[in-house]
Subunit: 338 residues, 2 copies
């Protein structure tokens, strides 16, 4: 049986068009089965645009959708058959091996948590993001699941991030750093000072190297960066904003004179090389770690390429038993305490 | 009498060489007097390298220096004649109108706070940073003075940031946004939810437009972004890191083949145009707002150009009576309460 990934076909700014397109591409490229969840008529209309011969693409029909602006908790209570709920249910019932959702992050998180439950030992699921660096990509967590954290939660994040960095990013012994505003021990706010001590007590198990700063997120020298979900989300959006600013300034500059426009044409290939290296769409989506199942949450503005890559991430997480490994490592780290 | 700026000649990675060089340039370019504080022999050696004819450059000798690694509090107690202490004292005694320091940020902050005292009404001084955007620069505060904040402190930051954005950045009625992880009211962690209410209660006085996100720091659409010093510092260093990553990737790509190297040569002028727009050195330094005096804190790695610009910022803050205006606006905002 090939791996089957359930995809919320109705979630995201470009749903169902780009979602279905990305799903078809993934089915063909990765040789996997896809379960599209959403309005059957709309999905079939989209599917009809592509050659799906020989592909295993199922449809679970529903006409309920949770919109981006809705309160996740309320919406989940009111819409028992929302596409995200049925997408998660497909995994919970064992009909699919993992899921991808590009709609409301809050709804996808809540639906995954309620529908799948937590991994044994894990108190708080976490959004594990992949960040581009000048070397290889690294993991940043929490990307925004828990905006207020207790120090102990960051130990769980470190454990989950290490497994992700090993199995999905391919690091043998990834280093874990605590996001802070100074490298020396004793730096930071009350929260990071307390968290430092919690992580430092498990130094050997999690390969904790100490505090890191905002700029260290992009060097590749630390492979797992942990922080609370507020700070993590600010980092993600700040990085996104800074990169967009540069892109815009480069474009502006290349448009500022006929000579610059010519230079722009000449150097186009160079920029597409750079773009590939910091391509958030290639990253596809963030894994919600700590739930009993593979759940990949994509950016609301995901296009087909991003969805295809999100499905790849889900497939890899299933193949590599990320969740089992997290439980194993968690138990190991707890053993050391007693 | 021309404006006189006291400069800690011994602070920063390239002190006293780059500090003295930048100070001489500023003295000539802005027609101001400079008081260099530090080792007289070293300073004179540096001064001898330049044409200082007609410039008013004084020296206050001291051989004590607070190093980057030292605990600011301890060092300030132990080194009563440290260059940063005497630099601040020059302003406190009225011998200079403002100061610039590029050494330990913690020491410069603490020395300024102890030596100058707080402005009436202001509880916590704040580091007010200038951030490049795709349009004009904006203000971000707190850049790192207060790593743990109470919601009420951010109202002070907003007041001080508004004055800075009006007088130094030149905005008529700058918009104030609260750094958060979602735009809608009710988003965020406990701290930002509480802070939202505090700022919203003074909405009209501070021109509060609500929550903003990491990416909004770079669009120029909001001109004053407030957050606690931990988050602010993370944003600054994340932006710095992301921009450095792009620069490095661009360089790598241009070096990757002879053709790309040629394209790199051709497009060099375009990049220097962009570099100018996001030039942190041109910004010079951050104002420590809320103390009774003008105190500009520069990056530890400041070169002469950055120091010259930091001195320009100090000069402008003196000329435009930033501190008096802060007190006026603070009193006004308090009046509205009663």
């Amino acid at each position: 049986m090939p791996i089957r990934i359930a995809v919320d076909a109705m979630g995201g700014d470009y749903a169902p068009l780009e979602i279905v397109k990305g799903a078809v591409q993934a089915a063909r490229e990765y040789n996997i089965a896809i379960q599209l969840v959403g309005d059957e008529v709309q999905i079939k209309n989209e599917l009809a645009k592509y050659d799906t011969a020989g592909l295993d693409i199922g449809i679970t029909h529903t006409d309920e959708v949770i919109e981006m602006g809705e309160s996740p908790a309320k919406a989940l209570r009111a819409k028992k058959n929302a596409s995200i709920v049925l997408t998660v249910a497909s995994v919970a019932k064992g009909e699919s091996d993992g899921l991808v959702a590009a709609g409301s992050t809050g709804a996808a998180m809540a639906a995954s948590l309620f529908g799948l439950g937590r991994l044994p030992g894990i108190k708080r699921p976490v959004i594990c993001c992949t960040m581009p660096t000048t070397k290889q990509p690294i993991a940043l967590l929490d990307g925004g699941a828990n905006s207020d954290c207790e120090p102990e939660m960051l130990l769980e994040f470190a454990i989950m991030g290490r497994i992700f960095a090993q199995l999905i990013l391919g690091y043998e012994n990834p280093k874990v750093g605590l996001m802070n505003i100074g490298e020396e021990e004793g730096k930071g706010n009350e929260f990071t000072k307390a968290t430092f001590n919690v992580l430092n007590a498990k130094k050997e198990i999690i390969n904790f190297i100490g505090n890191v700063e905002g700029r260290d997120t992009f060097t590749g020298d630390v492979q797992v960066v942990v922080c609370d979900g507020f700070v993590g989300n600010v980092i993600l959006k700040t990085a996104e904003g800074a990169l967009k600013m540069v892109t815009k300034l480069i474009k502006q500059e290349f448009m500022s004179s006929p000579l610059n426009m010519l230079i722009g044409l000449i150097s186009k290939s160079v920029f597409s090389g750079i773009k590939k290296k910091i391509d958030y769409e290639k990253i596809g989506g963030a894994l919600l770690l700590g739930v009993k199942g593979v759940s990949v949450i994509s950016h609301g503005s995901s296009n087909a390429y991003a969805i295809k890559n999100a499905i790849r991430v889900a497939k890899e997480a299933v193949e590599k038993n990320v969740n089992e490994k997290i439980v194993e490592m968690y138990n190991e780290s707890m053993k050391e305490v007693n």
